[in-house]
């Protein structure tokens, strides 16, 4: 089986508990979506890590380009006022 040539790569998202959101845990090879779920079950949930699995073809993901990092991300570096650190939190609220 020339698997690596014709098997797609899938990104795997696992929800560890009900109420939490799915988190990206890694990627794997599989011939189709159903087998991707089965593979994800075997590769990523063997130690009771999850209650739900999402699989997404890696090719369906559009990623930001590293070349764009400056215009995308640096403008927020000098805008400390966007962090809610200037509020006085009343004692009754306790730890936030």
């Amino acid at each position: 089986m020339s698997s690596k040539d014709n098997w797609k790569i899938w990104e795997i998202f696992i929800r560890s508990r009900n109420g939490l959101s799915h988190k990206h845990v890694g990627s794997l090879h599989a011939p189709d979506a159903e087998m991707a779920i089965k593979n994800a079950r075997d590769v990523y949930t063997r130690r009771s890590e999850g209650v739900s699995i999402w699989v997404v073809p890696s090719e369906a993901i559009t990623a930001s380009s590293p070349d764009e990092a400056e215009p995308l991300f640096t403008p927020s570096d000098d805008k400390v006022y966007r962090h809610p650190t200037f509020y006085e939190i009343p004692d009754e609220v306790g730890h936030m």
Partner: protein, 250 residues
């Protein structure tokens, strides 16, 4: 009655242990990392089931018997697994066909064992059925993809199916042990699960575009301790360490 229950327990335990050992041979050799892990997982599930059954067998034997002694100190002729599980892995397709034929049988077998009159077997079945349900889905999905895959994968699994078919008759042949325990409500009625097995196998083979082989002469003997030439080699590998170093511990 006691001797029959012990033999019955060993038949189930040996099926799980020998198949687990065979699948373990794939560890590190799977066609791709993901399938390597999947088969190793199934091997470990089988081993877990074998342990529960062998603990039960050791209790029935009494004295200082332990699950390890049951697994590692019995010779070939005292093993009671069906012949199908001891056969060589062959290529990936052949392993999948063997797994599919056995998992489908095992699924209906353990579903029926859930209502066994023997409490202990019933408890074991409750634990095992979840794993076995997954195994049966997994090997059926694979068989469909290989059968309905490329020309080469189709030919290979069809050939394996033709080769392995003669080893499936034994799964459903009832002998004196089966009959006696069935009368007590302990054993599974193999004639009943044969109907379910036929139906499921036909359904999956049709989805996989594979041709069901004609029923011809069937091999038998494993359940009664008469094995193929392969089991000796499986046991040699599996039992070598505990026999060479009886005091060895983790």
């Amino acid at each position: 009655m006691k001797a029959q229950l012990l033999e019955y327990t060993l038949r189930l335990g040996d099926n799980a242990l020998i198949l687990g050992q065979r699948l373990g041979e794939w560890c590190g050799h799977g066609p791709i990392l993901e399938q390597d892990i999947a088969l190793s997982n199934i091997a470990l599930d089988q081993l877990g089931q074998a342990r529960m059954l062998m603990q039960y067998a050791a209790e029935q034997k009494g004295g200082d018997f332990t699950e390890d002694k049951v697994a590692f100190l019995r010779p070939e002729t005292e093993y009671h697994n069906c012949l199908l599980v001891e056969l060589e892995n062959g290529d990936w397709g052949r392993t999948i066909v063997r797994q599919f034929l056995f998992d489908t049988y095992n699924y209906f077998f353990y579903s029926a064992l859930l209502s066994s009159a023997d409490n202990r077997l019933q408890e074991i079945a409750q634990k095992a059925i979840k794993e076995i349900t997954y195994h049966a889905q997994w090997s059926a999905e694979w068989l469909i993809r290989l059968g309905d895959g490329t020309e080469e994968s189709h030919q290979r699994v069809q050939r394996s199916l033709n080769d392995l078919w003669e080893w499936t008759g034994e799964l459903f042949s009832m002998d004196a042990v089966d009959e006696a325990l069935l009368a007590e409500g302990i054993a599974v009625n193999l004639a009943e699960i044969k109907v379910q097995w036929d139906q499921k196998v036909n359904e999956i083979l049709s989805l996989a575009t594979l041709k069901r082989p004609e029923d011809a002469w069937m091999q038998s003997g494993g359940k009664q301790g008469e094995h193929s030439e392969y089991l000796g080699y499986v046991l040699a590998v599996m039992q070598h360490l505990p026999r060479m170093y009886p005091e060895a511990t983790w």
